[in-house]
Symmetry: C2
Subunit: 316 residues, 2 copies
């Protein structure tokens, strides 16, 4: 597949940091930055932009905050071949925490929100655009919302200036048919806007669903190195680079950094396909109960875990 | 997805045995048999039917041979709720090794062959049908054959009495577009015959491609518990059972046996997504070089491994 409009955003550090509270060494983040630059990836999402009023640096690594000092420490001295992005969650950042683009190394701020927060997200996105950033809205957890509410949210976005909207499978619950259905819905509701896709791998469908998104016309693709990401992880960048035939992409620096760093990292901080995440995925639930099961010293009885979650018996 | 015609064949022991030369304990195989029976799976492929003239029992476990004594030892005394299948490879079994159906616990013999062996496969399939077995032909490695040769093979099969033909992605190299293309080709060339699909997980697409096969109209689906199978493994049965809405299927016995046996088994004899298998998959190559890389005490330089395989520099 070669479509020149396609752009890849790698969110290894941002989504991967959800596993270890962004406790990455500078060396790790810098090596990811260099490998991504060499591979031709268009954007590196290096973390969240969050307010230190709401989160402490003692509990969270630098990439929960993405201060300019943190960013300079990593990319200072290197030629910047890719753009840098940070994600902002509604309610976890205030307007005054976002500097003018001219004072920042960041190029893009992506606003993550639930359907019910869409007006706040549009407002924050407009603010970021005024400051000079490229901006997107990523609507989370749409596999659990009433279609009417989603349609209303899309209608609100269609009237906004926000140019890029992401289809997000937060729970790894979607099959190809849901991807095609939602991609068509988003395109129909959002004329003139660009779409992106962000998937999770609970059912081993993150890469497959990203391909289906591409077939449906989506041009902004999220991926992470070796699939690193919360719970079952994300669409593996190495697979996506190999699928895309765009001459600007090179898989080899990614193979290299997987061998140098990620195989070992995965042995230490676990992500990927595991039955607890599969169960939350097939039941279209937030992965938090799966993460709790995986973090326990001994796995709970998984048949019971499935039955409780299916029957909505509280498991915490 | 609920389509009453859909039938699942579990080939955990047959394909999984390619990893460990079928060195499974009787207890393991019996537990798989019981769990599959409880889950509503239609067929269990318990191994290969091979000749002891060509393979020794000192190097291969019982399920390389599937003698009637071996089979009785496992399923004797249980109510047989599912059908038993064995696979036969061309050139590794002779006609006289196949008993009358009336003298066998097996219900089905699936003939695996390459395109160039199609006439031998049809002949052996006809022989098995005369003996009283359900019979299929599984054409391997079709991602590497000239389309003209595949068309000829399908034409030969269309003239045969063999009722079921499998689309096989031996190298885990196909994307959804290849699945749809080939499924259409097979259906067009084989009027009146049923299709099956067997996938490998080198690119994390085994389950996704099985779904696309279903969407394309394929009704015979191969899967293995926890994806166990040679190299990157196969379509995970637990995911497939969850996708299918047929009331006869129950995922819970499979979740149970995964926890009891397969999580530990996977830690001992490795299968699943690993970069060497990904590389053979994206390059559309036999997984043997990936298996060699994985079996080494230390992984080879993977960037070099990729470049050598891509440039067809011999790596053995």
């Amino acid at each position: 597949m070669f479509r020149p409009q396609i752009k890849i955003l790698d969110c290894t550090v941002r989504d991967g940091g959800l596993i270890n509270q962004w406790q990455f060494s500078d060396d790790f983040v810098r090596k990811v930055f260099i490998a991504l630059s060499q591979s031709g990836v268009d954007y590196m999402e290096i973390g969240y932009k969050s307010s230190e009023k709401y989160f402490s640096r003692s509990e969270n690594g630098a990439w929960k905050f993405c201060s300019e000092d943190d960013l300079k420490r990593i990319v200072g001295g290197f030629e910047k071949k890719l753009k840098l992005s940070a994600m902002a969650d509604i309610g976890r950042i205030d307007h005054e925490d976002i500097p003018q683009k001219s004072a920042s190394i960041l190029d893009m701020i992506r606003i993550a929100c639930y359907v019910k927060e869409i007006d706040k997200a549009i407002s924050l996105a407009h603010y970021c655009m005024e400051k000079g950033y490229e901006t997107t809205i990523n609507i989370m957890a749409v596999s659990k919302v009433l279609e009417k509410d989603l349609d209303e949210a899309l209608d609100d976005i269609s009237k906004s200036d926000v140019p890029i909207i992401y289809l997000v499978d937060s729970f790894g619950a979607m099959y190809s048919e849901q991807i095609h259905f939602l991609a068509k819905k988003y395109f129909d509701a959002l004329p003139g806007k660009e779409l992106g896709i962000h998937t999770h791998n609970n059912q081993q469908l993150a890469f497959a669903n990203t391909i289906e998104g591409i077939i449906a016309g989506i041009n902004r693709l999220d991926a992470t190195i070796y699939g690193m990401g919360r719970g079952a992880g994300n669409c593996p960048l190495e697979l996506l680079l190999s699928f895309l035939k765009n001459p600007k992409f090179d898989i080899r620096p990614i193979i290299e950094i997987i061998q140098e760093i990620f195989i070992l990292t995965k042995a230490k901080i676990e992500w990927g396909y595991h039955i607890p995440y599969m169960i939350t995925g097939i039941l279209n639930e937030h992965p938090r109960s799966g993460m709790k099961a995986m973090a326990a010293k001994k796995l709970p009885n998984l048949r019971q875990f499935y039955e409780n979650l299916r029957d909505e018996i509280p498991i915490d």
